[in-house]
Every structure is written in structure tokens, then in C-alpha cells.
Chain length 510, copies 2
């Protein structure tokens, strides 16, 4: 079972997730194929809609489903759920699990929590180490959780060919036909005379050369000359092949990963050493760690529509638009804007005559910039980081394994929140040193522990929790429970909490 | 005493305010001079910072004081408080009084509440009618509450010369040196060969011609040729003169106003007839009603800096700016914007590379447009009006004579508010048909009536008010009182209120 951890002691998951039922593998699917969905992400480029604790893959930027949900759905066209693993990091694990569980309850077993994100190479190395033990012939399909792909069938076909190539010992990347002289992507030059394999119109080639993030002149030249492809970041290889190549090109990284795995497998698995060692790993993408150095690289040029939607301006390229070329979302009143991304929500946003602009509105922060400056939101986030501004980190609504809370108001000595508790969910048994709490149920029914008492509160009923008194909220019903909480005291930080029991594996005091 | 009315029965004030103490007139001031501050306003052009119930004059657009506060201060350099009258309309009376009272408690006696705004001509006619009875030689200084003037001394000098001319039977307007080919103002051509009076460098002339809102070509031509002035909307005349001219040019309006005054003076003063008659008056500015037709018009060209800040773009002309030419207010993180108005508040706003743009952010609505389209916010407001959107009418925080309330949250069957009650203030004794209320005191101390009980609540204490139970909140202390109120019920509109007693003259049930 995966642990959803927001506290101090967190582990890279070890044995248990690999016990997942492999019998579910469907007949047509390659029985050695496993998928690794990479769901880290810093939440920077889509600020203020994304936050450090709520990155891009969790957003509904396009359509009703979040990007990670779309990714999982797409992946399941190639790999059964029992062999799909989601790698995320500690600070995002709760919300990733929450989102995926709503749709596929089984996925909860297959979520791998890194102590912290160290880019793709360490995560992939770790996954390969574990996979190869279970299935020496295991093939890994690596998919980032926050890409947009239109054409699931074409995706599955490419994966199919890629799997074949991977089985033959190649390190395969899916190559995307470039449509613009992008400088943010890596480019791949296949060796067209060295075709490895073909399935229908799809072909696989050896890679002649990787060109990492070129300048605009070079990008234009490659676009003009043709025969170059964008590196999509979607990879296929055997676990054993990537381990061999890591041994060759990143021997130290591999040694460290092996140590971490040994530590985890020993009885001292859940300890600070794992945390520390993981934190010392280099933050390194698999592209530079292996792909640009290996002689085994192959590419399958694909024909599906792909975008890594790397900035707000790229939303304009991929989302559906009004006649005037605007992407409009939420409560927006617009007069005559053109080619703009107008991304609101419940709050009212009025725009007049914007051209090629980006406007993103959230309950607690708004961004406005020309499309051409959309990447510079990174600088805004780094300013906010320096100021230690809450708005870089989390939303006004913060997700927890039991539901969420929204801060409605705060002033000298008090804070007002709305708690939303999922059916069947239960907050931890806890107490606070500095604050008293007052609850009013506004929806559903609450089962409440208050010291030694056990009470039921229905809509309109209220209760005081004095400081230092143990308490717990539970939603025993099938309807959502909503509570207005008024906190009062000299200190109202989230860290004033003594947890005594928790059903989500969060740290408790002994 | 002025009545602050937000309810059905409202009157144009009659006798009592004119009993104001005239003895306070200072020696150097002309003892016949009275000031009428026109404080209506539709709240359209500065949306979303202004709202229909919170118009421009109430905003702190420039500096720490609101525009009406600045106007009152400036007016007091010419006229003693006892002879300063503020005309506002019913829906804005509470907040206008609240604001002015904080600074000058005496002003409360001199607030004239119109049932509804009908532009300047009816308000001025009514004021003149009443003034001439008290002082047949009364001179009226008419000042809009929402203009910006830099140079109070120069203003006072101009008023001084204007008063002299008014005393001689002229209808005087202060003329502003035009600095741009504005198409939104009236222009005045003085007869330079017909100088009426001079005081130092200041001169008064007969008006040769009024040019109402010219097209841009005409405006440019006037700017080039020189010798034209903008009509500032600041007027001086004897009450008797303006009444004579109204009799000549607007006889029907004057007859109706006389009827309304008679009705008010009769015992049936406070009735529906006054409301109805006022509502039927034409909405007419004094400029077109009289000034453009009279042969008695005179102009005093002035040299102080003046702006009617008619749109968000004009804020850029008058407010202090950063080196890059931005007007910045509130919690704004900006990267490289230029010549823009970035007007935020507590919420975080991030702007990157804006040029000649306007961004106005409020807790519940945001506006973004190029400066050149700033006037079109009127269209946005009219769209909101059609949709019956709350955001055109009022802010998330709504002001009441006793303080204010802020809506923090609302959902199915509940609403959460923060009530802020001024020291010594008292909400009405009231009850609700459809909702129960739950209060938690988070600041100060409350004296509460609950049915037959009288209770005191301190910080952290809470109370239920069932529906149909009479209740009242009072702040007996010298500190602000803040209460979190959770309302619950099938209907939560503001109009579900039965008032039984009110200290602010609001309608109560018998």
C-alpha cells in the first residue's frame, strides 16, 4: 500500500508496491511492459494556477480532466493498471494520490513517493533497479504526467513499436515533428539510413545526434532543413539496458541508488539515512545522464499531436479557442480581446481589447503579461520565494488526504477556514497547543471526538474545542461534510498540531 | 439632522439642515458664501474599485484621503463647516456620511439626501430654493466631490474672485487651462475684451461661447489656437440668480422643484409623493440646463492643477509614478512594466512587461485593459447590469451606518460574513424569517440582545440566533468589534430582515 506522507519521515517505496497483481495484464499487451508516470514538477511555469504544492499535472488546463488523469488514461491503453507506477515527491504525494484515487482506486497501491524531486535520472534508476528484480526482461515506458497528447491510438501504436525496439536493447525516445523553432526542447537527428524496425507507417531509427536546447537560429535552421525531431521525453527501454548504461555513464549515481535500495530493504528502511542520501543525489535529467551519451539511442518519429505545454502562452496553441483566437475559462467578461489566454475561475475578470496577452486569475493571485513574456513567470516565482510568500507554495484551498481546507479570512488572533471532508474520511486525532477551535457544520453530518466524548453534529450545530483538548472530525456519511472553523489564539500556524492517530500514515506522536 | 437611509422611505431633506449654526463663519470669509458639495456619482468609470454603491469620491485613488475628504478640506479653506452642504443620494448616503463623519463630526448635520441622483440641475435648484429663503443674498459655491485639485490656496483665491463676480449677478465657472485635446470636457471661450474683474493675476471675463464635448479635431484646433478653457464644473452664483435663470430656461423643472419643497414643508413631508415626483424629474446637468444658454455666464481662468480623473487612464496623469512611469498600488510584483496603472490591494498581482495598460484588482473582481480603452469600462458595467451581477453594485465589503460586513464564503444553504461594528454603534433590533445565525466574537466585546435576554460576549464566545428570534448586536466599547457570522437557511438575501428599532433612522416595522 502506498503511503501518503506530508510529514518528516518519508520513504522511497520499496517492496510492497511491486507485489501488485500482475495477473491483470491484458492479452494483447506485452506482458513485460511496465509504465512509470513521472509526476514531480515544480509548479513554476503555470503559476498562479500551479503552485509548488500543486503542480501542472494536477491542473484542468484542457478539458474536464487533469493532465495526470489524461496521462494515466492514455497509459492504460498500453499497460494494465497493475503495472502502472506513478512517481511523485513527498510534498505532492497527498494530492496526486487524491486525484488519481478518485478515478482509479487501485492506483493507490502503485504510487512511489520520493523524499524530494531530483529530476528524472535518480527516479528512473531506482524504478529500474526494482523492476529488474521482479522481471529480468521488464520493459519500462517512461511518461511525464504533464504532457498533452491528442491521438491515444497513435500513441499506443508508437509504444508498441518502441517496446519491440526496447526489447532488442535500444534506448527509445518518441520523436515529435517540430512545428516551430522552439528553443526549449532537445532536438534529435535520426540516422535515416539506419532503419531498425517498421510497423505500418511507423518506423524506428538509430539516433545520429542529440541537440540540446538550441539557440533560435539553429532551431530555425533545423526546422527548415527537416529531418529533426523534438525529444518528447517519452522513453522506452529494458530495465536491464538502462542499468547497464547508467553503470557506464553515471556509475556514482547508480552506486548511490543501490545503497539506498539496500538501506530500504534492511530493517532500518524507514530512516533518516535514506532521506539524507536521496537529498544528496545529483538533480539530473535522464536525457543528459544517459541519452545524449549512449550509442544505443533509437527514435520512433510519431504523428500524434504533442505538447509539453511549457508555458501559459503554449496553452493558446493547444486549447480550443474563440473566433477571436482567445482561450477563455471561467467568469470572464471580455470586450474585443484577441489571441489571448484569459484564464479565470469564479472571481469576475473583465478584459478589454487585450492582444496576445495572458491573464490568469486565481482566488489569491493574478498574473498578467504578454504571451511573449510568459516564461518569465519563473522570475516572479523566484521573487515570491525570496519573500517567502505563501502564494508561491500553495493555493487558498489546500488538499489533504481527508479532503481540503480553504482559508476564508484571517486577522489579529483569528483565522476562519472551511473544511471539506470526503465521505468516509477522518482527520487525525489531534490537539493544538496555542489555539482553540470553534466548528459550525454547514453541510453533511460530522462524527466528532472531543476529549473523552463522542458526538454527532448536524447542519447548524456548533462546538468549541479548547486548546490542549484532543479532538477529531470524521465524516461517517456518503455525502460531503463541510465545517466552518474559527480558530483563535496567539499562534495559528499549521505546525501547531500534535497528531495522536492518523489513518493516512502521517507521523504521529508516541 | 441628516438621515442615513438605505430603505424605502427617503426624503429630500427640508428644514432642519438649514438651521445649521451660521455663527461659525470666519471673519475673512464672505458671510453670504455657502458651499454645495455634489457627491452623487454612478461608480461606473472607476469600476471595479468604484461600484454603484461606492462611487469614485469615496476612493483613496491619490494619497491617504478619499476624494470627498480632500474636497471637503479644500472647501473649508473658503467656507466654514456650518455653511458647507453635501448632496448625495439615498443609496450612497450611509457611506458618504460614515466617511465624512470620521473626519468632521459636524458635517453629519449638513448632508442632503436625494431620493435618487438626477444629475446636477435638480440638486442645485433644490439647494438654491432653500438657501434663498435663509439668506436672500446667499452665494453658492458648487464643487463636485470627486475632482483632484493641487493648490488649495490658488483654489481659494479663485473662489474669492468668483464670489465677487457672483455677487454682481454673474454665473461663474472656473476655467482650466487645457493640456490635451480632451473630448470629454466642455470648452469655454471667454470674451477677452470684456474683463469684468481682477484680483492680482486672476481675472474674470464674460463667456463668449460654450463648446460642449468637441470631436478630437475641434479639440486639437482649440488647444492650438489657445484662449479656450475647460469647464471645471466648479460654479459660483447667487441663489437668486440661478433661480431667475432656471425660471427662464427650465421653468418646468423649477415648478416641480417648488412643488416638492412645498410637499416636504407640509406635514406630509416624508411620503411617497416626494419620492415619485423626484424620480420623474429630468436627469439634467446644470451646464446644459442653464450655463450654455444664459447671457450671464462668466469665467475665471485658474492656474491650479485640476483633474476630474474621468477614467483609470487619467490616474496616470495625476498620481505619483515610478521611474518607469507606473502608478503602483498594493501588493504588486512587477517585472519591467511601463506607463501603466497597476492598482491592487491585499491580493497578490504579478505583472510582466505591460505597456500603457490598466490593471485594477479588488477582492472580487479584476479589470485589465489598455489605457486607450479605459473608458470602455462603462460597457463592462452595463453588461454586468444586464446580468444583474452583484459586482457592479457593491464590494465584497458593504458599508452600513454601524460599520461594515464582508462576505467571506457562501454555499448551498449557508453564508459566512465578518461583521465589523464601530465603537458605540448598534445594529437594528431585528429578526429573520428564513435564516438562523451563529456568531463568534473574534475581536472586542459585544452586547447582544437575544429574544428577552441581554448578554455580553467576549472574544472566543459564540451564540445561536434561531430564526424568528429578535436580536441585536451592540458594541459598547471603544475598540472595534468583529464577529464571524454563519448564516444558515433556505433563503439568505439581505432583504430577509424585519427591523424593529434602529438608531440610524432606517425604516422599522410598526
Amino acid at each position: 500500500m502506498a503511503t501518503m506522507l506530508a510529514n518528516k519521515y518519508v520513504v522511497v517505496h520499496s517492496k510492497n508496491i511491486w507485489d501488485a497483481d500482475l495477473l491483470g495484464a491484458q492479452m494483447k499487451m506485452n506482458s513485460h511492459l511496465h509504465a512509470i508516470i513521472l509526476a514531480g514538477g515544480s509548479g513554476t511555469r503555470f503559476w498562479p494556477l500551479s503552485r509548488e504544492l500543486y503542480p501542472k499535472q494536477l491542473l484542468r488546463i484542457l478539458g474536464d480532466q487533469t493532465l495526470i488523469h489524461q496521462t494515466l488514461k492514455r497509459t492504460l491503453s498500453c499497460v494494465p493498471i497493475s503495472r502502472v507506477f506513478v512517481v511523485t515527491n513527498r510534498s505532492q504525494a497527498d494530492i496526486v494520490t487524491l486525484q488519481l484515487r478518485e478515478w482509479k482506486r487501485d492506483i493507490q497501491k502503485n504510487i512511489i513517493v520520493e523524499p524530494e524531486g531530483r529530476n528524472t535520472a535518480p527516479a528512473i534508476a531506482m524504478a529500474a533497479m526494482k523492476l529488474v528484480v521482479r522481471d529480468p526482461a521488464a520493459v519500462m515506458l517512461i511518461v511525464p504526467a504533464d504532457h498533452v497528447i491528442k491521438g491515444t491510438r497513435k500513441f499506443a501504436e508508437a509504444v508498441n513499436l518502441g517496446t519491440k525496439l526496447a526489447g532488442d536493447g535500444h534506448l527509445v525516445t518518441l520523436g515529435v515533428n517540430p512545428t516551430a523553432p522552439e528553443t526549449g526542447y532537445g532536438y534529435i537527428k535520426p540516422n535515416m539510413r539506419n532503419q531498425l524496425e517498421a510497423q505500418g507507417a511507423l518506423k524506428g531509427y538509430r539516433v545520429r545526434r542529440f541537440i540540446e536546447k538550441p539557440d533560435v537560429a539553429k532551431a530555425r535552421a533545423m526546422l527548415r532543413s527537416g529531418g529533426y525531431f523534438w525529444n518528447s521525453g517519452i522513453f522506452l527501454w529494458k530495465a536491464s539496458t538502462i542499468l547497464d548504461e547508467l553503470a557506464l555513464y553515471q556509475p556514482k549515481l547508480l552506486r548511490d541508488i543501490k545503497k539506498i535500495c539496500r538501506l530500504q530493504n534492511s530493517s532500518a528502511g524507514l530512516n533518516d539515512n535514506v532521506m539524507k542520501m536521496y537529498g544528496r543525489l545529483p538533480s539530473m535529467p535522464i536525457d543528459t545522464a544517459v541519452m545524449e551519451q549512449t550509442s544505443k539511442a533509437a527514435v520512433v518519429p510519431v504523428s500524434f499531436v504533442w505538447s509539453d505545454i511549457g508555458s501559459w502562452s503554449s496553452v493558446g496553441d493547444i486549447a480550443s479557442k474563440t473566433k477571436a483566437g482567445n482561450v477563455v475559462n471561467g467568469n470572464v467578461v471580455d470586450l474585443g480581446s484577441e489571441n489571448s489566454v484569459l484564464f479565470g475561475n469564479h472571481r469576475l475578470v473583465a478584459t478589454i481589447g487585450l492582444k496576445d496577452m495572458v491573464l490568469v486569475d486565481t482566488p489569491d493571485a493574478t498574473l498578467v503579461c504578454p504571451k511573449s513574456r510568459a516564461q518569465d513567470v519563473k522570475e516572479v516565482v523566484s521573487i515570491l520565494k525570496k519573500r517567502n510568500a505563501r502564494e508561491r507554495l500553495e493555493h487558498q484551498t489546500v488538499f489533504r488526504p481527508w479532503g481540503s481546507y480553504t482559508t476564508l479570512d484571517s486577522g489579529g488572533g483569528y483565522k476562519v477556514k472551511r473544511l471539506t471532508v470526503h465521505p468516509g474520511a477522518k482527520l487525525s486525532l489531534q490537539r493544538h497547543r496555542e489555539r482553540q477551535e470553534h466548528w459550525v457544520v454547514v453541510r453533511g453530518k460530522a462524527k466528532v471526538t472531543r476529549g473523552e466524548q463522542c458526538l454527532e453534529l448536524t447542519v447548524g450545530q456548533s462546538l468549541d474545542i479548547p486548546k490542549e483538548m484532543n479532538h477529531r472530525i470524521e465524516n461517517p456519511c456518503s455525502e460531503i461534510l463541510e465545517i466552518i472553523e474559527v480558530q483563535q489564539g496567539p499562534y495559528l500556524g499549521e505546525d501547531d498540531i500534535v497528531r495522536l492517530q492518523d489513518m493516512y500514515g502521517r507521523e504521529v506522536c508516541s
